[in-house]
């Protein structure tokens, strides 16, 4: 694992982002240096001290140019997205900003809408994804969608059905897919049930409930493992069965990353317990 660079301040890392910020520190999408710095202060604390995130394989993420980080959802709330974003900001040299394709409901809420926009997290619309990739940005995609965050504790390492839009997008924009596995989110937020009626009342898909009711994450060690890039040839207009074949390859790659790293984690734990 690469050491997390501690010598450089978080503010300096934001300054080193290769985004076209104007004199007000805002890029053409409204991403703001000021908001990024504040968000990163908070996320970096969680990343380093609370979740003690272990991250491998960042060398697979392109240092420049377009790319799609595609991984599994883990945890009832967006802890996975936050930590993936933090990993590309802290572990990469130069740092890069991963821009998430978020659920539509986020932008209906005050404050959440503002912070999501200012940190580059936009509604998951094809128009946004195409434009960002053509602008050589780094996209973060969870193809399981909201169903992925709804996984209960016993299913925390399983993968639900993937959407297929992300593959057509990758082909259309000739973007490499960097698969990643996110481990530990399901244990940090051990969902025992999802309250759909309460969610409807609040204007969200559902509210994950834990044994201690609120979906507040526990200080569990999290892991992010990036795999080797997958590049598919095509135009994006291929038949459904061709696209589904590519989706299955990405899904298998993520599943493999999950299983391999779970096994390794169990081994590490066993070694620690040995006298």
């Amino acid at each position: 694992m690469r050491p997390v660079p501690q010598s450089e301040s978080l503010s300096e890392r934001v300054e080193r982002l290769e985004l076209p910020f104007n004199e007000y520190g805002v890029d053409p999408y409204g991403i703001s240096k000021k908001h990024l710095k504040l968000a990163l202060e908070f996320f970096a604390f969680l990343y380093r001290n609370y979740f003690r995130v272990r991250c491998t394989g960042v060398q697979h993420i392109p240092k420049k140019g377009r790319g799609m980080l595609v991984g599994n959802h883990s945890g009832g709330v967006a802890v996975d997205g936050m930590m993936v974003l933090t990993s590309t900001m802290l572990e990469m040299d130069p740092p890069r900003l991963a821009q998430g394709m978020v659920e539509r409901f986020i932008h209906k809420f005050p404050v959440a809408s503002l912070w999501a926009s200012r940190t580059g997290q936009f509604t998951g619309l094809p128009e946004h994804a195409v434009r960002l990739l053509e602008d050589d940005r780094l996209l973060m995609i969870f193809p399981e969608g909201a169903r992925g965050t709804a996984k209960l504790y016993p299913d925390r390492y399983s993968l639900v059905d993937f959407g297929t839009g992300f593959i057509r997008l990758a082909l259309q924009t000739r973007s490499p897919i960097i698969p990643f596995a996110f481990l530990g989110g399901g244990a940090a937020i051990p969902t025992v049930t999802n309250a759909y009626a309460l969610g409807k009342l609040l204007g969200v898909p559902y509210v994950p409930l834990t044994p201690y009711l609120l979906p507040l994450p526990l200080p569990i060690g999290l892991e992010i493992h990036y795999g080797e890039p997958l590049v598919f040839e095509g135009t994006g207009d291929e038949e459904d069965h061709v696209i589904q074949g590519y989706v299955d390859q990405v899904k298998a790659s993520i599943q493999r990353l999950i299983e391999d790293n779970r096994a390794e984690r169990n081994l590490r734990r066993a070694r620690r317990l040995l006298p």
Partner: protein, 313 residues
Amino acid sequence: MRVLIAGISGGIARRLALKLRDSGHEVAGIDIRPWRDAPKGIEVHPVDIRKRAAEDLFRRWKPEAVIHMATVTAFTVQGHERGRINLDGTKALFDHCAAHGVKQVLFVGRHTFYGAAPDSPLYHSEDEPPRALEAIPELADLVAADLYAATALWRMPDVTTAVLRLVYTLGTPGTGTLANLLRGKRVPMVLGYDPLFHVLQEEDVVTALQLALEKQVRGIFNVAGPAPVPLSVIIKGTGRTPVPLPSPLFSVLMGRAGFPRLSVGATDHLRYPIVVDNKRFLEATGFQATYDEGRILRAYADALPVDRAGNGG
């Protein structure tokens, strides 16, 4: 080229008329509002586009190109009259163009056509439908006028028609929708939101319109300048103070306590951005804005400092 400008007494239309005249075009205009001391070489006719006198002018003066800038917003004209000006006026203008051999029409529309919504794309392309119709009732007649103008692309194939959807203009006279919002010392925002706004300096608007005319562009085009900036940046950059108000309080305070009067639908636009992709216009005309966002805001702050603004708060 003989160019007729409908709505010539507006701030930007006057500057456009002068620039076109200085570039060697013959310029005339119609407007029910006066343009006192109109300069030599620019004929101004105080007629209503919907009345017979306007058609007489088309018949007599035989314009080769017409620029339609005679539409109004809910800030300037209320009620049914606004609909009549925007819709009946636009229809009358295109009828006169068809009847009297006009070769080219520029319809100057607005980017608010696309409406503001939490789930719409950040950058709107010309191919998108108008969401302002459902969200902002005060814009319905402007949207309808825009759509009507666009039908000329297939109804009148012999006329080179361009529908230009312009972003907010900000300039020295301090007129226009955004300028009205920024007029006072304190500018309201909706608490928890800070949408991106697209602004273009008035001189650049004039350049863009002249280019569209001279390059004889055909089709629908978004016209924008520098990249959009958050509303809070615009407010602070023009020397004003942003006042975030909780949503329920917002509508109560509008038009009171020194805050500007806003239309009902405008509050959505203070939550969600309307920004546009102007790639098509840039490719068709080679337009390049000379004012970046910083220069636009500083120029406005210098031209209209808070202590000189109308209702300085």
